[in-house]
Symmetry: C2
Subunit: 459 residues, 2 copies
């Protein structure tokens, strides 16, 4: 009976004492005179299974020569494990080598630095750490779909190639089919000859388009790639990353925060429940206290406080700030940290100065702040940002004029305020930022299978 190792893990009683056949890879191999032990993984679960074989097998000598990295078909009996830390092992009756692996195989059973493994990105999911990271990535993505689908949200695929840069969110990648060598030779750029007949770029956010669907379906969410051509080489910036952008009609900022809090707790709980071995591994080897941090979040009260009151707290704090907190200005990492510690839990900071926030956010009655919110969480800082959208046609137009934006190309967006408009709100969560928070892994390059950063586009 050919099965996945996960099947045995999930129903040990059923398989105990039974013959099984499994396919997988050798992670480690220790031989003794009369016995051998192979740490074996078929990739379907985090834990390896131990294969035990002895010299009663006719091809014992050959088996002892099997190298790390090789792929095998193994037949054997599921037996109780003598060793600790494992519930079962497999007593081998036969091993067939499917694919050999030479000595120069880079993923040998020893400690590799993350930098080295980044260079071997195509092999790193074969290590414990990255195997865990990318399984959590998959499960967390599913948790997000579950959360929204179970609540009747419509999954909206925002366009990736776009002709509008309305976010003003930074530099964009241009998309073209013009032959650049020909452009250089001819001395002119003729966009009428480009694929779309005009300039096009990779989207920085699907929000504006998501709003059009929210005003038809009430509750929608995006989950797709977005792009930033920022030339910044930090631990938390990538040029290509995945975003979740829910958008909800007939919903104000309070309602928006309710969804943010509820969704985050759901996803954290889902991952804790469904990636137990992976999360234990992160807790032991990546971020001590991770499980405690996440479990605490589940029962945390999320404080809601205005930007103004946050600044007051920061100003009154007896701290020698590197960046002095100021009303009307953004807050720094050190402030984020302080404020989550101050409230001993996640904090929604609301009503931000309009000048440091995007044009589409709803102007508050004070005319100085907008109905925006950032969620700060202990140990990670800003995890999501959202806002109620300006639903007043005239206010939106005048804000765009103030910012020198071209309203004519945005007619469709403005019309949403004319054709049965309503209060609506939404937020954005960078998926990789969530993963950094969930796994304790600090560098965004380690939570994306094939990360793109300035100067780096391998595979």
């Amino acid at each position: 009976m050919k099965i996945d190792v996960k099947d045995v893990m999930n129903d040990l009683e059923k398989y105990m004492g039974k013959k099984v056949v499994i396919d997988g890879w050798v992670r480690n191999h220790r031989k003794q005179k009369e016995f051998g032990f192979i740490d074996f993984s078929d990739g379907t679960c985090f834990k390896n299974v131990q294969l035990v074989y002895d010299n009663k097998l006719a091809d014992f000598e050959e088996i002892t020569k099997i190298k790390v990295g090789s792929s095998l078909e193994v037949e054997g009996e599921v037996i109780k494990s003598e060793g600790s830390g494992q519930d079962f092992e497999i007593k081998v009756s036969s091993i067939k080598v499917i694919g050999e692996c030479p000595d120069e195989y880079p993923i040998q059973p020893k400690r590799h630095t993350r930098e080295f493994l980044r260079e071997q990105a195509y092999l790193r999911p074969r290590t414990n750490l990255f195997n865990a990271i990318f399984r959590v990535r998959s499960i967390a993505a599913y948790a997000i779909h579950n959360y929204f689908q179970e609540r009747g949200y419509v999954y909206f695929h925002a366009p990736l190639i776009t002709s509008s840069d309305c976010e003003g969110a930074g530099q964009m990648f241009q998309v073209t089919t013009l032959d650049l060598n020909r452009v250089a030779k001819s001395g002119v750029v003729d966009y009428s000859k480009d694929f779309f007949g005009k300039t096009a770029a990779l989207t920085v956010s699907g929000q504006l388009e998501a709003e059009t669907f929210a005003l038809a379906y009430k509750k929608v969410y995006t989950f797709g790639p977005t792009f930033r051509a920022e030339n910044s080489n930090t631990k938390t910036h990538a040029s290509e990353f995945w975003m979740i952008e829910p958008e909800i009609a007939f919903c104000d900022l309070e309602g928006d925060m309710n969804v943010m809090e509820d969704m985050l707790k759901y996803v954290v709980k889902y991952v804790l429940d469904n990636c137990k071995d992976e999360m234990k591994f992160f807790d032991s080897f990546v971020e001590k206290g991770l499980l405690e941090k996440l479990n605490k979040l589940l029962t945390s009260h999320f404080t809601r406080i205005s930007h103004h009151d946050v600044i007051t707290i920061l100003k009154e704090a007896k701290v020698d700030w590197e960046f002095k907190p100021e009303y009307g200005e953004d807050i720094a990492k050190e402030h984020e940290k302080y404020i989550t510690e101050y409230f001993d839990g996640p904090v929604f900071i609301t009503n931000w100065p309009k000048d440091i926030k995007a044009f589409y956010m709803k102007l508050n009655p004070d005319k100085e702040t907008v109905a925006a919110v950032d969620l700060e969480v202990p140990g990670a800082g800003e995890l999501m940002g959202g806002s109620q959208r300006e639903e007043d046609y005239d206010k939106l137009v005048s804000r765009m004029k103030e910012l020198d934006m071209d309203a004519s190309s945005m007619e469709w967006y403005l019309n949403l305020r004319k054709f049965g408009g309503c209060p609506h709100s939404g937020f954005g969560m960078g998926f990789e930022r969530l993963l950094i928070y969930l796994t304790g892994v600090e560098n965004i390059r380690d939570v994306i299978p094939y990360p793109r950063t300035p100067g780096n586009c391998e595979y």
Copy 2:
């Protein structure tokens, strides 16, 4: 109690006779002297709910003036519907207009052509047809995630910006941060100054990268956008579309076909079960017989036959072909149609001539064909394509040489055959092709929220 219309639909008994508050939009409005009827949608389900109001309301006159497209907050009692085709309606006790809508609102309650609605893409989800299409899109996407996640597959996010064009699948979009005007002025293209320090493009397939993860996790799938810069203006081509690409280690072509068949049946059943109203609508107004077609698929035997034997059948057919079927050549739409009718069901066509298939497909012992498969379904033609991958290092290298491919830039891909390689297989399904099949809507522009085609990149 503020609720979604869907809540009432799903649990009518609970809400019957109760006061509820709902937010939504006016789809149609018919007034009489003493009564008025509003077709009302909050977007959470396909069916409108009928609001009934009478002149006992103090603001009866004002309510009669409410225009199509307006957004409302409605309070009323859930009552049994007198009319046919509805289980309930809402007897209004109060209506508050949230957002008005002028007479020039394009989506009036009359028949609009799909061409017209394409021009109003941001409003078309407010029509019955597109409301149904994009909800089915969402539910079908979820069905796909459910299918793979429930079976232990790892969801893999393939990179979108890539430096490898290994598919040879057609023209690619170039991605750049070079200033084209400066390129034109300077007369040179200096890629060392480009964002990634070299040329980069939008991916045409995540398969090759998915293979690297399959050889760690055994079972993986992608579900993400892919791009083709083909200058073809047909009903079935878009420049940006979503693909599902599962990849399975220790799996041959037969196993691959098992997954293709099983997944398709699962997704079709899931959509039939979870989009009943939408599917009925398509069956009545888009493709007569759609439900019968899909229900038949669920119990269909999927024929498996070689390309060679298909050609023989086509040659022996007493049909005056537009394109003469030939051994060693591709088949045409008319052949696809004939063969699914011949077998009265879906057909897997296997073992294709190697020269018309991709380099990575496993060479069969005959050295003329490869272990490739196309799935043809009645009424839609080719829905998926897959293959067993060449796992033999030397054969793969020599095939790449034959095709004049640069093996040196593909070392990582080749190494998968050296470092514990194994038989592995996978397939690709264009998500929009599936949607066309599921909804009966013929034009790919009508199943993508904001389609991108040559010369068209709005929003």
